[in-house]
Subunit: 165 residues, 3 copies
């Protein structure tokens, strides 16, 4: 049950604790590693050779390309104005539109980060631990803070900003 039949797993995917994850209707590429207490929803795509660390949540509408590092306790989002109910009844899927998010190849997302919906995190970008990402992150850039701000552009070196495994 925690790994539903609807999950499409590539070759050599490592799920360290199959009884402690919740995966359904998603695709996970070859060689990717998935930690404990991870939930990946239907219609989420995770590429090859990624690490999805413990306690993270990947929701419907999220595309994670190859070679991406997702730290611990990272939360993705797919709805800007969530509500439990509509017209006095629990919302159903008909009541909202999933807003897509893309994490490009080679990017890294630090632990505890929150990724608002509708953003693109660029190739090889680095999102600092605990950041709240509210807009696109350019390729190779580093961002940190709440809301996340640019700390360095592609090609720039070092700096004291937070970043994490």
């Amino acid at each position: 049950m925690p790994i539903a039949d609807s999950v499409r797993l590539g070759e050599g995917v490592q799920i360290f604790h199959p009884a402690l994850v919740n995966l359904y209707g998603c695709a996970v590429g070859d060689g990717t590693k998935i930690g404990a207490f991870v939930e990946i929803q239907k219609n989420a795509e995770v590429g090859k050779r990624c690490k999805i660390s413990s306690h993270s949540f990947v929701c419907e509408g999220v595309t994670i390309e190859d070679d991406v590092f997702v730290g611990h306790g990272v939360m993705f989002i797919n709805d800007k104005y969530p509500r439990a109910t509509a017209g006095g009844k629990l919302q159903t899927e008909d009541d909202w539109t999933v807003v897509a998010t893309v994490v490009k190849q080679g990017a890294s997302i630090g632990s505890g980060a929150v990724i608002l919906c509708g953003v693109v995190i660029g190739r090889d970008a680095l999102v600092g631990a605990g950041a709240v990402v509210t807009r696109d992150v350019p390729d190779g850039a580093r961002v940190a803070g709440v809301p996340a701000r640019l700390m360095a552009r592609a090609g720039a070196s070092s700096g004291p900003e937070p970043r994490t495994r």
Copy 2:
């Protein structure tokens, strides 16, 4: 065991993965949905038609009214100055006073938000993803940031602030 006998569940409550939650001594109202990796402690109350999303923690002293959306990885709190020990021994319940928190009907709390104790989140209010709420949120208001600040009052429309399912 993950759903203790002490839990009072209303009609039609949906707990998607009973083996992956930790509920004890709490009350959950009719029709509410509870995701994976959720812990709800004793003396917490969750109303009807709520959504308590994966990875969230609802502690003792929290009252969540009807129609409330709680995103993923939301943390409630009931102690301002927590300590592990008192006088060289592990603290017991006698060593602290639970500080109550209320989330009013129809409110939504974005993923990754942290709600300090002793606050009231107003009716239909929206708390942005990743916000740290340190004071009361007025009815219908939208707040975001660390600490959470007012982004819009009831009746005001739109704005670029973070918010989430």
Copy 3:
């Protein structure tokens, strides 16, 4: 499996839901309490009479001394510049150096806090809920915010900063 044989548990350690934790290769001192959905990695050390609350992650390289309170959903880190892959292959342990973090005796870390690697959190210090700690915290100090800033030094009293169980 969720509590590997490699774990060294002291006397009277309380793990409330052994099936809902992921502990391996770590040491946990006498009388410490561990909540649900907690992961503690190999080569992490947790002292005596600590509380490690639900949803928290303690990684390799972290030393938590005695009498420490770790709130819910706290994330530790051991790598400043994480990447999933190196040279087109998944990183292995040979590809990174663990950066150590120490939490001194009697300190408390509020829920939802993120602790960057390489820091020392001082004796009896208090880290506010939702804080992102990027540098050392002096003994007895209180810090909060993103990045965490000093709210009070040892001996100073009270203040409105966030802090939490």
